[in-house]
Symmetry: C2
Subunit: 552 residues, 2 copies
């Protein structure tokens, strides 16, 4: 039997587009003798649809689109993800379903059993868990159709307190009684740089438990915070990976089940850390380009300071959107060093990005004049530092408003964690590119960008980080060195370790307590931050829901 | 038997405070011969704890606090809400539990069965549903202990597409087999102005189904967006309300179960609409004061424009925080009318609030000079309107930074819905007071505030709304009249009706489609809005999760 894995990029709520894309893929592979084509989870409506699932017209459009697709499924079977109505009058209104389309009709519907409701996932908000199990037969082969989390009943976790067995039932324990010869898993599994190995181990473990091959079809494409990397796979009954589809781009791959036994496993190679950084880069690039493409925007701006964060953001944006779609501002103050301006100019010129320079001193002076009566006799403090950042944020928004360039935010995760940034100032932006990338990884991204030639000026990489908001300011004046800070942050945020545990591992007590306190008391700032492209297992944003009002 | 209903205000993660408050209440009522005291859901840790439930130290502190409380429960039984560990190795790690403390120990633990996972609730994110049922006996009376949603297995809903029976099982169907004589329900049920009747009907329906009295103990107090109103109740076996505790303030009420039969039902009275507005007012006042109290802040600022929104916000803030804790800015531009300035001054003086006036023209000019090279030959547009709003937002943040006044946001729900506001400008603020109040209700709040004397100048109430960002601008230039707009918005947002349905109800097609489109395309603005005090059944913020990237 020939099976096509259709790893495609869908747009949430764009039924015409998604349906046409699916229909095109069906027609395309039908002409190549494919018997079964498999699309990803909720492919007809795009994932994640969030609260659109609460709307009747959305569910109706999904339903109608599936019916239209069924008509063209003659001489081929298609598995398409879509919500379906729960006909039981009790329980959630919907199921998260896989529709099997063949002979021009919906031949069966299979519902998701395990509904991820943690981190960025809210599936029990909308869906009733499945409790009835059946398999399908295509060309005489019995297939268990599962949806994403259905195979994740025992999963590796990053946090020390989290558990891997989140469900009391396992759908495969039911399905195995029906003697399937193949497991198909349709998914919308987002990228995180520590997820690739977890995913692989989940599939390998399932193969080992049930002794049958697995075909995994994942969505690709970014939808705001979430970046779906694709990387669809075919595993044989030994748990070897025979095929792995592209990461971060669409692909339709046709396999022949008769050849599964004889095919050689693909090999992992390359340095793990280089692969990790290159994947983060590719993820961010896709995150930026899909945000713009799917929203119908083309042009971007940002504030180029001469520092590492804006440099890396610009390089990624130039790659994602094209240099000719970028226009940036250099906005020095009297505290800005000449080398910062020079570095910013050098980068803009290297990348062929249009730039303008606005010295903010006069605007800063006008604010100080306006505030003089109120601030009489008071000395300069954080107020004036924030004021500079807010003037820059306002200038960037003016450019954005006038010319239609979306503002890219350039803050990194280390800063976002400890609140080292100005709300309504440098925290502005339609999208945060680096908000889930720790500062130490921002440096690694810079080196990766420079791997073939010096794109980001070496001076930007080697100089001590500074916000340049007061004379001779350095980040290390108020924060621990980033190498140390990032390790503490990772322990506290990703691994969810208690401060006492982190201290017991050998970190300085005062630094740990200060860092943890800064993370906690800056929840209010992150509440109003732009959407952050998620590349880790625990990003700030939708997947991390901390109380805003609490005692720390 | 004497039962105390302890309707108290807890602080999330403040175990010392919450434990001391609970212990104090226990000691207090013990001296009055009370047999059983009942606290609200998750009282030991505060509700909602959100992702703190994923942290080991948080769960451990809850556990230790419960153990400390158990020790003092001698000669009295206490029911206290807290998370507990799920000892089954499969399933979510925690239960949402009611601990029964008596004879100095934890005598039993009862878990929540129905886990609300919709709107602002995320309970299945953390908790395993209960599957074992038992009752307790206190002074010979058999009591079914339930937790909030456990009695909401069949609930009235606002949205036309939502269903009221979200669960396939009902805990009371199990518990009734154990012949309870009384139902106790501990809750953390947030206020919404359309929720009071729903709540009442849920309890009355339960009484009618099971023919036994219900004692309902709800949390009071605000935690960021969510405002818990208390309003704890005692219902007799006929479904009559015998006691109703304070709304929006703490109260400990002692009742005698022997007297339940003979006591007369309390009567609802008053004009429903006046009660609705007064409750919204009380809710917002509590929302403001608790945000400040629990965060350890006292002082607030805002931009006073002479318009209705900032006037109502200021009146509420003055009531919540005290006039002496407020300091506001008037920031006229050349487009500001003299009557706006006069109205703002009149209100500040009436409320005894310190105010300063900063004309923003010079700052505006300095921005225009800075941008002149870039904007050469281009005419004024929305850019310059936003610039004014951002200058004001920046000035307010400067005052906030310098003096420690938190900025209150003054946007209303109608504006937030259609994106009539400037990000990083008038959308700034630590807390949005009116962001869940439609403009038409803002006017009603103004009348309510003026019910005894003219506090808000009548001119502020009667003049046509205007942002005053260009000559002779009126809101009605770009928006439908608010009376019409708000009805369309309520249909689309609260009732989740499709545009076609709204049009079929007689609204103008072009206006409906324009309004709905504005709501959808402004998701990105609301993403970065401050936390909004929630008073409706569907507020912008945590309870409304729409995709940011989607096709509309």
């Amino acid at each position: 039997m020939k099976i096509a894995l259709a790893q495609l990029n869908f747009i949430v709520n764009h039924f015409d587009y998604n349906r046409a894309k699916i229909a095109h893929a069906i027609e395309q592979v039908k002409s190549k003798g494919v018997d079964l084509i498999v699309f990803s989870e909720l492919s007809i409506c795009g994932y994640p649809p969030h609260d659109l699932l609460d709307r009747e017209d959305f569910v109706l459009k999904s339903h109608n689109s599936i019916n239209e697709l069924a008509v063209i499924c003659k001489g081929i079977t298609a598995i398409v993800g879509a919500p379906s109505l729960n006909t039981n009058p009790k329980g959630k209104l919907l199921f998260n379903s896989a529709y099997v389309l063949s002979n021009g009709i919906i031949s069966s519907i299979h519902h998701k059993t395990l509904l991820p409701t943690y981190d960025v996932f809210d599936e029990y908000r909308y869906f009733e868990p499945n409790s009835e199990f059946d398999i399908i037969t295509v060309k005489g082969i019995k297939i268990a159709v599962t949806i994403c989390e259905d195979l994740w009943d025992d999963q590796p976790v990053t946090s020390s307190f989290a558990r891997g067995r989140l469900y009391s039932k396992s759908p495969m324990d039911q399905l195995k009684n029906l003697d399937p010869e193949l497991i198909i898993n349709i998914a919308a599994s987002p990228f995180s740089y520590n997820n690739a190995d977890r995913r692989k181990s989940v599939f390998v473990n399932n193969v080992h438990r049930f002794g049958i091959p697995v075909i995994y079809v994942n969505q690709i494409g970014a939808n705001a915070e979430l970046i779906f990397d694709g990387g669809s796979m075919v595993l044989n009954r030994k748990g070897e990976i025979l095929e792995q589809l592209n990461s971060f781009s669409e692909e339709i791959k046709i396999i022949d089940t008769d050849l599964l036994e004889s095919k050689a496993a693909i090999k992992d190679d390359g340095d793990a850390e280089i692969i990790r950084i290159s994947k983060i880069y590719d993820a961010l690039k896709l995150g930026v380009s899909d945000y713009f493409n799917k929203m119908g925007f083309t042009k971007a701006t940002l504030g180029l300071s001469g520092g590492i964060d804006s440099a890396v953001t610009l390089a990624i944006a130039a790659d994602a959107l094209g240099s000719n779609n970028l226009r940036v501002l250099l906005m020095p103050s009297k505290y800005s060093s000449q080398h910062s301006i020079d570095d910013a100019v050098a980068l803009a010129e290297k990348l062929n990005v249009k730039y303008d320079l606005i010295n903010i001193q006069d605007i800063f002076d006008s604010f100080n004049s306006g505030l003089a009566n109120i601030f009489t006799g008071l000395k300069e403090d954080i107020t004036e530092e924030n004021l500079q950042a807010r003037i820059r944020g306002t200038l960037l928004m003016a450019l954005s408003n006038k010319f239609g360039h979306l503002l890219l935010n350039t803050s990194n995760k280390s800063e976002a964690a400890v609140g080292y940034g100005t709300l309504y100032g440098d925290m502005n932006g339609a999208l945060s590119v680096l908000g889930d990338v720790y500062k130490t990884d921002v440096y690694k991204l810079a080196s990766y960008i420079n791997r073939n030639e010096e794109i980001i000026p070496i001076n930007t990489i080697i100089k001590p980080p500074s916000a340049e908001l007061r004379p001779d300011q350095k980040d290390s004046d108020s924060l621990p060195e980033y190498d140390l800070l990032d390790r503490i942050l990772f322990s506290y945020i990703e691994e969810q370790k208690d401060p006492d545990t982190i201290i017991a591992e050998g970190f300085d007590k005062a630094i740990v307590l200060k860092t943890v306190r800064l993370v906690n008391i800056n929840e209010y700032k992150r509440f109003q931050a732009p959407p952050i492209l998620r590349v880790s297992s625990k990003a700030f944003g939708f997947g991390r829901r901390m109380p805003l009002v609490a005692r720390w």
